[in-house]
Subunit: 213 residues, 2 copies
Amino acid sequence: MKDDTSIRENIGRVTRRRIRVRAELLAAAHQVFTSRGYQDATISEIITVADVAIGTFYLHFRDKEDLLFALADEAFHILRAQIHAALAHSPNEAVIPLIVRTLLQAAYEQRDMFKLICTGETHLLLHARMQQAQQGLIQHFIPAFQAAQEEGQLDSYDPVLLARLLVGMLVWAMGLWFEQDGPEPEVVAEHILFMLGQGIVPPHSMTNTERSA
Amino acid sequence: MKDDTSIRENIGRVTRRRIRVRAELLAAAHQVFTSRGYQDATISEIITVADVAIGTFYLHFRDKEDLLFALADEAFHILRAQIHAALAHSPNEAVIPLIVRTLLQAAYEQRDMFKLICTGETHLLLHARMQQAQQGLIQHFIPAFQAAQEEGQLDSYDPVLLARLLVGMLVWAMGLWFEQDGPEPEVVAEHILFMLGQGIVPPHSMTNTERSA
């Protein structure tokens, strides 16, 4: 019994250490990638920042690209977790506004990470992951649009295409923060929800002649 | 007098030939870039397709990148020209629906070119031009949103941010055709205009509980 316990404790210690070292390497990569850019970052600099030996690095990651993939997966995982938490904690709130607000807030908090993922030379490497994340988001919205359709509120418009267009606007909006920190995510969310809630083009919107006049 | 005329005719002939050769090089580059990819395309293949000597190539373009820039500029120029023509020919139509329909139709017709511009390794090279084209589009929409605001139809929402979000959705929608040819541009335009015209989220949109039920 005593031996069993100490083995369990030892395994626990090893596992905890592995988890901690992995987290330190990811944090160091995040810092080096976002400050120096992915292309110019070196594993040698990352292990220095993480204070980890090169052999330990290779226990966790195959190469620099593997590290980038792990970072991106973590960023998407955090987004998903925040959306799931919001849905679980506010079961009586309307789904679409809840996801729009939560997603933009979460993306804003991780904006340096998403800038790294979505721009520059990493964009190509992470293209498939971006597509997958967008698909996941679309799947969240589809049931809400289908419900609206069943209630006759979408005429004959396709709920799936509407969900895709909404996700497109959200993904594009996340890029607003790549160049500057504003506008605040709440402001962007409220503008999108205003558009989604009542439209933004008045029935008799301005014609070209009026514009030139 | 006779001499003057023949000089003028000669200059006209030289100019016409230069314009024709330039157009042939651009068409050849378009073909080679979109079939083989920008990175793998060679000037040697492009001049073979255009049936032009290498020395002639360098009268027109500095290098492969210069040719890519010229192609992208032409694609954006065609978009702008089609939007300006639509505005000029339909002075009594509402501006926003007119631009949305024209832009999506024009982008669809040039979808292989925009796929080349917006994806893969050329994406980085053309980033500044893409930004500039988006800014130009935003400027087209701002007066329409400002007019709606003056009529009290936008509450306190920012017409500039709404214009940016609309352009974001349009730019993203253009990417729908990079992987497959559908949905048709008219269908995408009508979905966006439905969203802009009356909103797509019903006032009492489905809650999370209803979704799980």
